[in-house]
């Protein structure tokens, strides 16, 4: 477990701010103890300092996972969020998309959201804005990126993709071995 280099930390915060905007601060500045980001095998973990100290008893080869895995850095230094990050993205999300109950299952199989599957959407969301996807009864299902801005969505055809799928909770089953 090592601290993120400045470069990587910046990439991480930029990515986080795409989904939760200014709420990034609240991940670091928490009243219930100090939390920090750590890197282990190119994966980014969000750990409380208390658990981090306990984890230091183990060597890096023996350690599988500590805290919450947020994502993984690719070899070209790009960060890709895993579904495990949803637990922290959902409560702070500024832009949200709700899918219709009929489309829920399709979304959980990894499909993009077309206009026909869209239930509700936050106002004023621009194109390529990172959003958290909810079911109609406010259960976070995953996250993605808007393919159309909110206003464009209104005029779009029912079959055009409105939100690109990035991750969904179905991945807990589909890619169980690579998540953590």
């Amino acid at each position: 477990m090592k601290r993120l280099s400045d470069e990587r930390a910046k990439i991480l915060f930029e990515k986080l701010s795409k989904y939760i905007g200014t709420n990034v601060k609240q991940l670091i500045d928490r009243p219930d103890g100090t939390y920090c980001f750590r890197e282990h095998r190119d994966r980014v973990y969000y750990v409380s300092e208390r658990i981090l100290k306990l984890s230091e008893c183990f060597g890096p080869e023996k350690l599988v996972c500590v805290g919450t895995c947020f994502g993984k850095f690719s070899k070209t230094n790009k960060l890709k969020f895993h579904i495990t990050a949803l637990y922290y993205l959902a409560p702070y999300a500024q832009y949200k998309v709700w899918v219709k109950p009929s489309f829920e299952q399709q979304y959980l199989y990894g499909n993009h959201i077309p206009k026909s599957g869209l239930g509700r959407i936050t106002e004023n969301a621009g194109q390529y804005q990172g959003v958290v996807v909810y079911s109609m009864n406010d259960l976070p299902l995953g996250f993605g990126v808007l393919a159309r801005s909110t206003t464009e969505c209104k005029t779009a055809d029912p079959m055009t993709t409105v939100c690109f799928h990035q991750s969904d909770i179905g991945e807990y089953i589909r890619s169980e071995d690579t998540l953590f």
């Binding site: 280099s5 701010s17 070899k75 621009g126 206003t151």
Partner: protein
């Protein structure tokens, strides 16, 4: 009789000049006739060694040599061209080598690869039958080039190539290139076999170097100019060199970077977040247009009455100085300009 006596006496005197061929030794000397070697295990006499060393050693050597010669004479001899020749037996003394025993020849890269893959060398025939020339043509060596010239006296210019290009010259260039490549590979094989350090990278010049090589050169230069862990600042979109063997080129790349800074981690992170959040948003014309469009649309939707009025006025509005017709929502409109136009019409 006098003569006989004289001769005998003379012979006696001659013999006296030479030392006898029999030598007495306290311990027998060890002889290895094969390598003409004689080892004397007897102790040297200290007294003699001190008083007249040179003479004593000379005598001793003569005696031992005599013994060696005696044993050579015991071997079966024959006469070849007025010379008496003895055949020496196999030497029994094992002499140490001057140099180490040469090992197996180191394999070249290709040989190693072929061995791994189990590729066997196929022997080519010296001559193959050429159907176009209708005769047997050597595959290599003498008169092969002639045969090829005869065969390819004309070359096709492909469609995608400049028609003025000399295809024959191109072929020669290609061959020269191959030869040069082979030479480099030969050198590399030698380097690999001798296990010498050769600089692998460096700056090849902007004309020759690939982007990867340039990237490596930059990274190497940066780590070379670093001072006490302080590195040159990164440019906005600069990439880190990567690939096989790049890390070894960069001095100190294997060393793990220290993450201990004077500032506590939380503050560093908060500073970073601040810088990320305070970033000036990009001036996105596309986005601005779409927002403007949208606002207009909303306005029209909320009070459609105004829209109708506008349309009427546009139709009958020829009372002005001949201002241009309003472009009904088509094309790009600068929001500032639009209002100005509208006022004129009124």
């Amino acid at each position: 009789m006098d003569i006989v006596k004289e001769v005998l006496e003379k012979q006696q005197r001659d013999l006296e000049k030479y030392k006898p061929i029999t030598v007495d030794k306290h311990l027998e000397v060890r002889l290895d006739v094969g390598s003409l070697l004689c080892t004397d295990p007897n102790d040297l006499e200290d007294n003699q060694l001190k008083n007249n060393r040179e003479q004593y050693l000379l005598d001793l050597t003569r005696d031992n040599t005599q013994l060696l010669i005696n044993s050579v004479w015991e071997l079966p001899t024959e006469r070849i061209d007025e010379c008496i020749v003895a055949k020496l037996p196999e030497p029994t003394t094992v002499l140490p080598r001057l140099r180490k025993v040469p090992g197996p020849k180191p394999l070249t890269k290709w040989e190693k690869f072929a061995k791994e893959k189990g590729i066997k060398k196929k022997k080519k025939d010296k001559k193959v039958y050429d159907t176009t020339l209708d005769k047997w043509v050597p595959t290599y060596g003498f008169k092969r080039a002639d045969a090829e010239k005869e065969k390819e006296w004309v070359l096709e210019v492909p469609k995608n190539v400049d028609p003025n290009e000399d295809m024959f010259q191109k072929k020669i260039d290609l061959r020269n290139e191959k030869v040069a490549k082979n030479e480099i590979q030969r050198m590399k094989n030698i380097v690999r076999a001798k296990k010498v350090e050769v600089p692998r990278g460096g700056y090849f010049g902007p004309e020759v170097a690939s982007s990867g090589q340039l990237l490596t050169a930059v990274t190497v230069a940066k780590s070379s100019t670093a001072s006490v862990g302080k590195f040159q600042d990164k440019l906005p979109k600069e990439k880190q060199a990567r690939g096989i063997g790049v890390k070894e080129l960069i001095p100190g790349a294997k060393r793990k970077a220290s993450h201990i800074s004077a500032q506590p981690e939380k503050e560093v992170n908060l500073d970073l977040i601040k810088s990320v959040l305070n970033k000036k948003p990009k001036y996105d014309i596309e986005k601005a247009i779409s927002i403007q469009k949208n606002e207009d649309k909303l306005q029209r939707e909320t009070n459609p009455a105004e829209k109708g009025k506008k349309g009427k006025k546009g139709k009958g509005g020829k009372s002005g100085k001949g201002g241009k017709k309003p472009k009904g929502g088509r094309g790009q409109r600068a929001p500032g300009k639009k209002t100005a136009v509208g006022r004129k019409r009124r």
